[in-house]
Amino acid sequence: MSLLRVSSPHMTRPGNTGDVMLLVIMATLPGLAMLTWFFGWGTFINILWASLVAIGCEALIVALRGRPVRHYLRDYSAILTAVLLGLSLPPLAPWWLTLIAVSFAIIVAKHLYGGIGQNPFNPAMVGYALVLIAFPVEMTSWLAPQTLSITPGQSMGFIDALFAIFPFLSKISLSVSVETFDAVTMATPLDAFKHKGALTAEEFWSTELIVSTVSWKAWQLVSIGFLVGGIYLIYRKIFTWHIPVSMLAALGIMSLIFWSTDPSNYAYPELHLLGGATMLGAFFIATDPVTAATSIKGKLYYGAGIGILVYLIRNWGNYPDAIAFAVLLMNFVAPLIDHYTQPRTYGHKSTK
């Protein structure tokens, strides 16, 4: 009989990091379903492709670092990064855009900083920011919701989307010619609103009827999809409510203040909360534990910081959506927040 000698505790909760990551990936499904429903298979294909790239990069780097590859792949963190990137990129983003974003995220933003758990910046957002700066055109052309397609023939199927993303595939394929297909692209409601020019809000909404009705509705539902997934994760105690709630609250309050003072120039809060990537950002990106603040109070500050920055960048920055930059900026100050928001330890008078 050989008795095991280990230190306490002898019991741990079943499960491992991979389970947590998988659960998060699963929780993106409602949002992904909505995206696919409204914008076709593009995002779905993006995610698959991004995942492949991520696994490849991860395996490569882990092998180069002389670590056990299978062990590291099993934590699914690379795939989660890929999924988040895939969800953020435009549905018909060309394959090379995804490739660049994902490989940069995994290789530079994650592994050059020491691998999982040690990266100060959210890898998915670093990859996203890189391609957003480098390829603004590709990045801002979102597909119009499919329901907009007037003629049934133009409806975009899986194959169409695949060819749109990987144009070279159509060359070797003998079937449909891509040339016949002209995808309708348009800006997201937020983007559109930002570029409304001299129009007042009322004029914008009346002229951009398409945006105001169908597209807006699509985005609302996508956001609600992510919201549902996020709430599920809170319920499963994967993360706490503090970051998403404080971020949404900050964003909501900011937009409410500006909108109530000047409704013709500032979008109403709902547009900020449900348009664009707000929900995805609040529940799946800002909550990335590695790069967020840790203590309860710290999380509240961190989330609120993101919310405020998002609003500022959306209104006065050069980019239509601001989640990536806001998150990255707050990643930057997270250690500082941590330093000043240590919880009060049992028996201590106050925090230091």
Binding site: S7, S8, N16, H71
Partner: protein
């Protein structure tokens, strides 16, 4: 019957809900019939100083007979659990995380189970508090909840800390363990009586019994007993929610009162004392029946035994006997844990005995407690912080411990970690967080040691310089004294020779002459004394006269003892390590301060050299230990990077823990060194005790430290001897030059006495040095 938790209670941060696994062992009543063929009784079953053997090999002992007495204030007696013969007194492995060996008394039962004469207290209400405490102390009672702090000490907080709440810890929050539950079900009246006795001693305003609602039978039984004894005024049974670790002393206090034990303090600081239910029963038996603590209730559980339940087992029963009694399935037994699955420690030797703190033996199969999963990287998910009952940030502590940023770990209050394991339990990356904290705490202790060691060296150097200067002055003074003495002697001699002539003729004159002589002698003596007195006065760091100093010293020592006791008591709250460290340090500082005060001029010049030599030896041993540790630390880090195979890190960890625990054990020894010296008011006794300790300490286990210590001690002894020698040499030198005759013998002897006194002082200092160094070793 189903109880709800009381509404007015408070809560503590975090906590977890691991599977309780308590039903298995509560189905059968407590068994009582197990008489092993051999009992192994460690002298050290408690926090504090090891007990002192009272028996010899071959002695016949009776059940309940004291076989080892407490050695000092913070110590506990050991009694024979049954009648029989002492067959050996030898080192035997102890059930301790370290797997240390310590002196044990081995008894072979004769099967008669014959009691010794017991002395029950007829009416404890009539007895003085001190007498009751003496009874409890004589019964060898220590906390039975797991930490094993001597109960009499805990029942005797210093007078300036009035106790308003006496808490009985019946939470028993660890999974699997049901010893307290069953005890309360079957012996509720004794629990309440014990509580009543403790309340009589402490005179609190109220008594609270904190019990988790998953023990409805126990709650009902207690309530019944309270009603029966008409104590509802005094005692409140508080039903608390089930949450681990609600049974942690600090957490229970927080739940029941909403107050927190201040950082670095003990519950008595906020007017509370907390005892375990098992302890209450032991107190009740000691007072009402006069029975010492010779058995305890232990849970035997886990899937590797065919029968699970509780047994009132004689202390010292080998665990293999116990396991066999419960039908252990040897092939299935994979992990043997003493204590619960959250805070217990694994045993790899089944011949270890049951001790006072053994509340559970968990014989688990591999399926039940699977081998630790491979460690993954921390994803900073914060689940650990959510679970931490001390409101720490375990992920940060882990990070700092791993990267050896110990100062940051300290600033994140690493030392407030109670090692409850809640963080490890929830960590999705399966990081053995608590192991990292233990590692870091050990490292911090070593660093601390080094720092104090170098402080020590500096102090010694300064003391030496001062000493040399002083010696110069002293020599000068001595010369003068001698000259005066010689002059006096000459006069006396002349007088003597005069009287010699007359002696035969006039007896009356002889008497007068003798009186004169005496007066002269007295004068000479006085002269000599003032001479030495001047020397003493000249120096700022003067050596106070021994007799004069005695009361002061004993006061200091008393304070020291109290401090050590306090520190040790802190250790009671689950973190033996932390407290041991703190206690060690504060005691150390005290010792240092004392030494600084006493930096005396009377030590001969050889001393600093020999001591510095000894110190040179010290650090090198330390260096070795450090190197070893560093290697282990390396392993620790590597274990994470090559995390696939976990057996390696596990091994490294256990080695690490061994080393650490050894140190912890020693540091608690060191504390008690200070503590043991406490109640001694006369210097002689203190000295005797110290000498005794000096004798004992070489028998301590850690080979390296032992060497270091004995080298040090040898040096000290040499030094003391040298001091002695020098004194006598000087005396004799003085005698030869001054031609001893009847008259100058007296002044000389006065000088001699002064010298002797100084030598004695030097000796004492040496002993104190070694005591300080003993403390240093943690």
């Amino acid at each position: 019957m189903n109880w709800q938790p009381n509404k007015h209670l408070h809560t503590f941060h975090g906590g977890i809900h691991p599977p309780e696994n308590k039903q298995q062992s509560t189905r059968a009543a407590i068994e009582t019939t197990l008489l092993p063929s051999k009992l192994i009784l460690p002298l050290q079953q408690h926090i504090g100083q090891q007990a002192k053997t009272l028996v010899q090999v071959g002695d016949q002992v009776l059940k309940g007979q004291m076989i080892a007495e407490p050695n000092g204030y913070v110590s506990a007696a050991v009694h024979a659990p049954t009648s029989g013969t002492v067959t050996a007194i030898e080192a035997h492995a102890l059930p301790h995380p370290s797997g240390l060996s310590e002196q044990c008394i081995i008894i072979e039962p004769d099967g008669k189970d014959e009691w010794t004469q017991l002395t029950p207290v007829v009416d404890y209400q009539q007895l003085a508090k001190a007498d009751l405490l003496q009874h409890i102390s004589d019964a060898g009672i220590t906390g039975l909840g797991g930490a094993g702090f001597p109960t009499a000490v805990k029942l005797n907080p210093s007078e300036d800390l009035p106790i308003n709440t006496l808490i009985l810890n019946a939470a028993e929050c660890e999974p699997y363990i049901t010893a307290d539950d069953m005890l309360m079900r079957e012996h509720a009246a004794e629990v309440i009586t014990g509580l009543q006795i403790m309340a009589h001693i402490l005179q609190p305003e109220k008594c609270l019994i904190g019990i988790e609602v998953n023990k409805p039978e126990a709650i009902a039984a207690l309530q019944h007993a309270v009603d029966e004894l008409q104590l509802t005024e005094l005692i409140t049974i508080e039903r608390i929610p089930v949450k681990y670790p609600s049974g942690g002393e600090k957490q229970l206090i927080q739940i029941l009162t909403g107050m927190e034990v201040p950082n670095g303090g003990i519950p008595a600081d906020i007017g509370m004392v907390c005892h375990n239910v098992g302890t209450a029963v032991a107190v009740s038996r000691a007072i009402i029946k006069g029975e010492p603590l010779i058995s305890r209730i232990t849970t035997i559980t886990g899937e590797a035994v065919s029968r699970q339940g509780n047994i009132e087992v004689l202390l010292g029963t080998p665990i293999d006997t116990l396991l066999a009694h419960f039908g252990v399935k040897q092939d299935k037994l994979h992990r043997l844990v003493m204590g619960g699955p959250m805070m217990g420690f694994t045993l790899d030797d089944v011949s270890l005995p049951v001790v006072k703190a053994t509340n559970c033996i968990l014989a688990a199969t591999r399926k039940e407690l699977p081998d630790p999963a491979p460690e993954q990287a921390c994803i900073r998910c914060g689940m650990c912080a959510e679970a931490c009952p001390a409101s720490l940030l375990p992920q940060q502590l882990y990070w700092f411990s791993k990267s050896r940023e110990f100062d940051k770990a300290l600033s994140h209050n690493l030392l407030d970690c109670i090692e409850c394991g809640a963080c490890s339990y929830v960590c999705p990356s399966n990081i053995p967080l608590v192991q990292y904290y233990r590692f870091a705490k050990g490292e911090i202790r070593i660093e601390e040691h080094e720092r104090t060691a170098s402080d020590h060296a500096r102090q010694r150097f300064e003391a030496r310089t001062a000493r040399l200067e002083q010696e110069e002055a002293e020599k000068e003074a001595k010369r003068q004294a001698r000259a005066e003495a010689a002059a006096a002697a000459k006069k006396a001699k002349e007088a003597a020779s005069d009287s010699n002539d007359d002696k035969a003729i006039d007896p009356k004159a002889a008497v007068v002459q003798a009186a004169l002589e005496r007066a002269k002698a007295r004068k000479a003596k006085k002269a000599a004394e003032t001479a030495t007195g001047e020397v003493a006065d000249d120096t700022p760091s003067k050596q106070p006269a021994v007799d004069k100093d005695t009361p002061k010293l004993s006061a200091v020592e008393r304070a020291k003892a109290r401090k050590a006791a306090r520190a040790a008591e802190q250790g009671n709250e689950q973190t033996t390590d932390k407290a041991a460290k703190k206690g060690g340090l504060s005691a150390l500082e005290k010792a240092k301060a004392k030494r600084a005060q006493q930096a005396d001029g009377s030590k001969p010049s050889e001393q600093p050299e020999s001591s510095s030599k000894a110190e040179k030896k010290g650090p090198s041993a330390l260096e070795r230990a450090k190197a070893k540790r560093a290697a282990e630390g390396e392993q620790l880090t590597n274990s994470d990077t090559a995390a696939v195979d976990n057996t390696e890190p596990a091994k490294a960890m256990s080695a690490l823990e061994k080393a650490k625990a050894k140190r912890a054990a020693q540091s608690s020894d060191a504390e008690s060194t200070a503590a043991a010296a406490a109640p001694v008011s006369a210097l002689e006794r203190a000295k005797a005790k110290r000498a005794e300790q000096a004798q004992q300490s070489p028998s301590e286990p850690a080979a390296e430290e032992k060497k270091q210590l004995s080298a040090l001690e040898r040096a000290k002894l040499k030094r003391a001897q040298a001091a002695d020698n020098e004194a006598s040499v000087e005396t004799s030198a003085a005698s030869t030059t001054d031609r001893p005759d009847s008259a100058d013998k007296k002044p000389m002897s006065a000088l001699e006495r002064a010298k002797a006194k100084r030598a004695e002082q030097a000796m004492q200092d040496a002993a104190e040095d070694s005591a300080a160094d003993t403390e240093n070793r943690d």
